[in-house]
């Protein structure tokens, strides 16, 4: 791949990104590139910096130092337009105090979108929730798994270019977890979304990701202690080749 082609393929590029909370550095990424249509896994222990990296990628918070380049231009939280292309599903998503339909339709309404009803029904179908049964339900009537699926539907309905998932299946029942995994993959399959998934579910990450990054102590670790993952036949040479490389090997 030539450098020019690789640059065109870049979706995100992070340079010397640092994030600090209360004087403590929680994220240190010297260089990271995420290509379009890739599925990137983020593995590592709690407190390793995965969620912080996702919030920086989602333009919900700006790094203390460094730049985040999205689609070829430096972007920050001030660029509201990029947040219409990138969306984040948190581990414990918040649902607005309204019906399921209103929650899923919220992002469409702020965009002034049309044909909302059909799109909402389609998104609920994607996450395995029957629109006729769920659309009118109040959000406090949902189980944890259903709430997580509604939150994912609220993101999928926007057909985002980038879908960031922070522990999307943690503490969910098997069916909900499976539905969420399937719906996430449909985003890549149906409209070519780029996915960045933080998860402890290594089996899932290994089965779907083009690249897995191991994060510990806020850094993308060049020498992950979980050597068995690197030896995984499924990942082969797509496993972390070195985290200071400019272009992900996909």
């Amino acid at each position: 791949m030539t450098v020019q082609k690789a640059l065109r393929a870049d979706l995100f590029r992070l340079e010397q990104v640092r994030q600090c909370y209360g004087g403590r550095t929680v994220l240190e990424v010297d260089s990271l590139t995420i290509c379009r249509h890739a599925i990137i896994g983020l593995a590592g222990p709690n407190g390793g910096g995965k969620s912080t990296l996702l919030r920086v990628l989602a333009f919900i918070e700006d790094p203390a130092t460094g730049i985040v380049i999205f689609e070829g231009r430096p972007c920050s939280t001030r660029h509201g337009d990029v947040r219409k292309k990138v969306t984040l599903l948190a581990q414990e998503p918040y649902l607005l105090d309204r019906s399921v339909h209103a929650n899923v339709a919220y992002g469409l309404s702020v965009r002034g979108d049309t044909n909302v009803g059909e799109k909402v029904r389609g998104a609920l179908d994607m996450v395995g929730l029957c629109p006729a049964r769920f659309a009118k339900r109040a959000c406090h009537e949902l189980s944890g798994g259903e709430a997580q699926r509604v939150a994912l539907a609220a993101r999928l309905v926007l057909r985002p270019r980038v879908l960031l998932l922070d522990e999307p299946t943690a503490s969910l029942d098997a069916e909900s977890a499976q539905r969420i995994k399937a719906a996430s993959m449909a985003a890549r399959r149906d409209w070519g979304a780029t996915l960045v998934i933080a998860s402890h579910d290594m089996a899932w990450l290994k089965s779907v990701c083009d690249q897995i990054l191991y994060m510990q102590g806020g850094r993308i670790h060049p020498d992950p202690p979980v050597a068995e993952f690197a030896k995984s036949a499924k990942l082969g040479n797509r496993w972390i080749q070195g985290f200071h490389t400019d272009f992900a090997v996909l």
Binding site: I60, G80, K84, A90, L96, A154
Partner: protein
Amino acid sequence: MDYILEAVMQAFRLLSSGDAETFSAVWATICVSTMSVVLTLLVGVPLGFFLGYADFPGKRPVRTLVDTLLSIPTVLIGLLVYALLTRRGPLGGLGLLFTLPGIAIGQTILGLPIVVAMTATGVEALDKRLNPTLLTLGAGPRQILMTTLWETRFSLGLAAMAAYGRIVSEVGISMMVGGNIKWHTRTITTAIALETGKGEFALGIALGLILMLLAFAVNLATVGLRKRVKR
């Protein structure tokens, strides 16, 4: 004891016959308290939202001041507003002394700390995940503001009810700024004070019953809202 029972009976007769003097005071009370609550909400909700949402230097002292103002005596507000509206005062030219809008100004000052403090508390109590959620769904600043206000709607309702309860039952401001003018600025509370002073218990009790009904309605609404907030 008999004279109290007689007064109660007469009070019901006044209410059932639609006594003009009684209902003039009721109407004045409803007009002025509604005006006051609307003004209080218009000014207090944005201030409370800012106080609860934003971080700025001196936020803590401002919050303490607002909390202190919650217990400001109505006669003190009455005195201040009277001094402002009297002919020699800075706002004397407006001719608002001894008018219902004049009372509304005082009552707005009375209700303002309640609405500001309760709105700020409601906004502070919002789930910390709300803002990032709205951001990641693509909401802009105006949409975030409106959605956040909507999410605090039950707290705002509680603030409005609390302010209404305080405003409708105050007597100091109405008496001093309104002057208790019959058919004009006489409210339920000032009428009760006057009639009791004259020994006319019947009208006082009749008006007291209506005030109790108003308070009961406000309390019912508040209880309903509290249930929604707790949920």
